[in-house]
Symmetry: C2
Subunit: 345 residues, 2 copies
């Protein structure tokens, strides 16, 4: 089969102020290149659309270098090897890697390690599950919960963004570990799904009223909060801080409410609750656990196989939909892990 000739790409054209706009992106094409000796060519099938992408678009020091202006937008994804001069990869292999928002990625040998290239096994989970519970969000939730959250049976865990990619993993794993699990999500439909399908003990619809989180925590966490897994920051973090127990652990995974701020980030005004309660607030970055992903994937795949864990993906079709799809995250419009399907498997 001859190789395709044209690679459609989406590049960062400008650093956004607030929510990314159409003018912050450029749609470009480049020729598809044959792999060099030791390299391979991957066809993108699906991309992971993540809140963290917003941070990668900003200038300045972070846990990872920003995407440069004019560069293909960074994205993790799953794809299929369509040409290979690498001894370990054959045409047809399914892989996960940092593919970028483009249809094809030609990986040179020197870029393979940095790309995070890994073969994936579709018997362990579907392509989109490999971007969800078996992928970065799942690993973020699993290692953040286990390493920093340190759940013990009988404790109460609260997770925000409960219906999102990280939240669904965190809550389900915490249930398996014996915790009482209370989610926070936007809208009744997400809350119902989290409770009825994922088996959370309760879920608070933060959009229901301005006092919904405060009242919901009182009702659903009668013994206080031992672990809070925070994906959102802002007022919800501050409210949970008023309900934590002694020696509570707060996992700082993200702060989606603050990513598009044009004013300074809202710091947690109630942070002195950490002092009163001898509690801990700690940040995590999934890449630190790269050498243990296999362990996490195996555990998650086991739960999927046994029917003890479910997953939900919100799939949007078409590379060109990337700019508008990303915005769904910040409006809370996605229901489940947001996936951009670029091609049919």
């Amino acid at each position: 089969m001859p190789l395709p000739t044209t690679n459609h790409q989406i590049r960062l054209a400008a650093r956004p102020v607030g929510l990314p706009q159409a003018s912050d992106w450029s749609h470009t094409t480049a020729p598809v290149t044959e792999p060099v000796e030791g390299g391979l060519l991957i066809k993108t099938l699906a991309l992971s659309i993540d809140p963290a992408m917003r941070g990668w678009m900003n200038e300045g020091k972070s846990y990872i270098a920003p995407v440069g202006i004019g560069e293909v937008m960074r994205a993790g994804g799953v794809g299929q090897v369509i040409a290979s001069r690498h001894p370990d990869y054959a045409v047809g292999d399914m892989v996960s890697a940092g593919l970028g928002v483009q249809e094809y990625l030609a990986l040179a040998p020197s870029d393979i390690a940095r790309s995070g290239l890994t073969k994936i096994d579709l018997r362990m989970g579907s392509l989109s599950q490999w971007l969800n519970v078996l992928g970065m969000p799942g690993m973020t939730g699993y290692f953040g919960l286990m390493d920093v959250g340190q759940p013990r049976a009988g404790e109460t865990l609260v997770v925000s963004g409960a219906a999102g990619a990280v939240g669904q993993t965190v809550g389900q794993v915490a249930k398996i570990k014996g915790c009482r699990v209370v989610g926070i999500a936007g809208g009744q439909a997400k809350c119902d799904w989290v409770v009825q399908e994922l088996g959370f003990d309760a879920c608070i619809d933060y959009k229901a009223s301005p006092s919904a989180v405060r009242e919901g925590l009182k009702t659903h966490c009668p013994k206080g909060v031992d672990i809070y897994f925070d994906n959102v920051g802002g007022d919800i973090l501050d409210t949970v801080l008023t309900r934590i127990n002694r020696k509570a652990r707060i996992v700082i995974c993200g702060a989606i409410s603050q990513y598009n701020n044009t004013t300074p980030v809202k710091g947690p005004a109630n942070y002195l609750s950490l002092l009163v309660n001898r509690a801990r607030m700690e940040g995590i970055v999934v890449f630190d656990y790269a050498d243990r992903y296999a362990v996490g994937v195996a555990e998650m795949a086991g739960y999927l196989r046994e029917g003890r864990m479910k997953s939900k993906e919100d799939i949007v079709i078409g590379l060109d939909q990337f700019p508008t799809t990303l915005l769904k995250l910040f409006q809370g419009e996605n229901f489940g892990k947001l996936v951009l399907q670029v091609a049919e498997a």
Copy 2:
């Protein structure tokens, strides 16, 4: 020797709004009472004046119950047993306990445990050192540093309130443990003392200019900040957060800049630096280490004896001076551990 007849006391008359005022206190007298069977009578010699006192004056849940309106103000102190019906305490014994802002405390047997009554040995340190490096501030600094800060030789530690009671212990112990130590204090005199007398590597005068802390950290922490021991909160905490290293530990010991706020506490707007740097912010309360005080005291007393540790106390004389003395803390007017001497030893 006949017992004294009158006990002068200072009681909380009202809950302050902002800085405590004269009208928030009442000066009262009560008869001195003979100890009951199993109890003892203590004459207050000196009281510890601490930032935490401000928190005890507020209503609401905290790590300790608030002082009730009309109650003698809570204070730790050192004193001498002047009458005893307790088999383990003799007249003349020197003790440390929660004495309250008053001249005499008659302890009933049922109140002894709660008072934290302990004999003190003046060969290990002076009376005022027993309120400083060998007392609550010293134990706060020592256990906060060792348990949460977890210093390793070669790391950089920053401590705010460096010339204060907790700060001087933290910095000196961290030096002994092999850290580079940078203090933050108000005014050149305190900074000079911290560097020249206590041996800190540097000290930043936060009052020198609005950018003093930012510039000082750049200059004096060329390898970033591994441990920040925070006694002040506010803008200084936020500035340090921009300079922390991977896996940094921030010990939340206090937030003196915020205790008299009449507006909400300023939360750390840069808290997402915890995420970027996989860092931890954790609160400590000294009472949790009560069963290990003897270990801490023995280590500090050893350093004092060997001349490896110095202490500085700022001594004000007279029980009636309590209300104005407390205010010195919040204006940063004290230089060293603030002690109220109530009687001659």
